[in-house]
């Protein structure tokens, strides 16, 4: 079982000799650290993290996320980013020449945007912006979602996993840090890409996943 990663439960004592405890841990005594999630232990560059199997998305500054507009105000949009708290997009943080009162013609309820978390305060109110390279309104395409903690696995090392799915299915894919994924292409290809994403989600905690997804994609395409 050397291949599988260590599964921990809330309150489990962590072996801190492997690395400095970081995310998903808390101090539970003198020089003792415990897990705060039900998840797996991950060690990378002297740090030890507990990555939960699932859970909500917590916004962090600089994250690029996919959000759904749920409400339009006179000068702001309220955007759902798949997190416990909704976020705000002010009209001045968009690339468009908006005027207070008629912002509905740029984004309406139900539209999706690819945006960046600009700021965040102590009570978890957050603001997003569309003013950066690559950020935009997402037109067409399909939306699927995975739990936010699994996003790094969907992307893979240096984007290897998502690029593989993109190339194999000839689709355009945008992955938000919050777990929402936008996929655009022909309906058949989109369905294949969604199936591949779901498989990564299911088996995120196992090793050798990239090779398995590659053969799964071939199988789906009937090669």
């Amino acid at each position: 079982m050397a291949e599988t990663k260590q599964i921990v439960m809330p309150g489990d004592l962590l072996d801190t000799s492997q690395g400095k405890p970081r995310n998903g841990t808390y101090k539970c005594g003198e020089n003792q650290f415990c897990s705060s999630y039900f998840g797996i232990v991950q060690v990378s560059d002297q740090f030890l993290d507990v990555v939960p199997f699932t859970g909500p998305y917590y916004p962090r500054r600089g994250d690029k996320v996919i959000g759904k507009v749920i409400e339009v105000g006179p000068s702001m949009w309220v955007v759902d980013i798949n997190s416990p708290y909704s976020t705000l997009l002010h009209m001045n943080d968009t690339p468009w020449r908006t005027q207070s009162g008629d912002i509905k013609k740029y984004l309406g309820p139900g539209d999706y945007v690819y945006a960046k978390v600009m700021s965040l305060n102590e009570i978890k109110e957050s603001w997003i912006t569309l003013k950066d390279v690559g950020l935009r309104k997402l037109e067409g395409g399909h939306i699927t979602s995975v739990p936010a903690p699994k996003v790094p696995r969907i992307i893979g090392k240096g984007g290897s996993m998502v690029n593989m799915i993109k190339d194999a299915t000839e689709t355009r894919i945008v992955v938000g840090q919050n777990g929402l994924i936008w996929i655009d292409g022909t309906p058949e290809n989109v369905m294949i890409a969604i199936k591949a994403v779901k498989m990564v989600e299911m088996e995120a905690h196992t090793t050798g996943l990239t090779d398995r997804i590659q053969s799964y994609l071939k199988e789906l395409k009937g090669e």
Partner: protein, 247 residues
């Protein structure tokens, strides 16, 4: 507690009505992720108890005046189905279920890292489908499993267990008849690793020595119940990893 009666709850061999020894638990089975719509869920069978728990959230708390700017609020709702007991139970919240909802909410608030979610609420729905004594601690045990499977950060898992006094003897995990005709009932909720008590109630009378003995019995049983919780949570992930991890 209960009505005085001449029912013998412990036979001459020291065994109880259902054939258990004084320190024996009823069979417990826990299953996780039984509901697709919920963020986390669990189903527990504890003796004759059948309880379904669904967890939603954290999400923004509504109505807004219930929000706490510093931490999340946990809203547990304990509810017994009309068909869960012998005689039809009038549906809806009553004095008893409001009390149980409150103590379970407070017990869970001590395990969940509520300070990480200002203004939020976490809903825990505990639906008793079949009741057979000890539903509050069975519900609590399942609720903490459901919370963990929802990916909510917790300090520890909460484990519930009861002990009580029947025929003048302290026994673990009272069954229905023992609860009805026994002399005392002591449900406790405990944090599995640290051993901190987060829920304690008592019905009936126990002397100090009896109380200590009951507590000791419960603390010992907690380890066994916690192991079942852990199996329930990890089970399917381990089996999938074993299946795939071999390459």
């Amino acid at each position: 507690m209960g009505t005085a009666s001449d029912i013998k709850l412990i036979d001459e061999n020291g065994l109880r009505i259902d054939g258990r020894s004084p320190t024996e638990l009823r069979p417990i089975k826990i299953e996780t992720d039984v509901l697709d719509r919920a963020d986390g869920s669990a189903y527990i069978e504890w003796g004759g108890n059948k309880i379904l728990v669904a967890v939603y959230g954290p999400r923004e708390a509504y109505p807004k005046h219930t929000q706490d700017i510093e931490k999340a609020i946990i809203k547990a709702r304990y509810n017994m189905a009309a068909f869960s007991v012998d005689e039809r139970k009038r549906p809806g919240p009553d004095r008893r279920s409001v009390e149980i909802s409150k103590v379970i909410s407070e017990a869970l608030s001590n395990a969940v890292m509520v300070e990480q979610f200002p203004r939020a609420q976490i809903d825990v729905f505990i639906e008793v489908l079949q009741a057979d004594a000890g539903t509050r601690i069975a519900g609590l045990t399942a609720a903490s499993v459901a919370l963990a499977s929802a990916g909510i950060p917790m300090r520890d898992l909460v484990v519930g267990c009861t002990a009580g006094k029947i025929d003048g003897q302290i026994v673990l995990d009272l069954g229905k008849e023992e609860d009805n005709f026994g002399q005392a009932d002591l449900p406790m909720g405990i944090l599995a690793k640290s051993g901190k008590v987060v829920l304690i109630q008592m019905d009936g009378d126990l002397s100090l020595e009896e109380f200590d003995k009951a507590t000791e019995m419960i603390l010992d049983a907690i380890k066994r119940i916690n192991e079942i919780q852990r199996q329930a949570l990890a089970g399917k992930f381990i089996s999938l990893a074993l299946e795939r991890g071999g390459e």
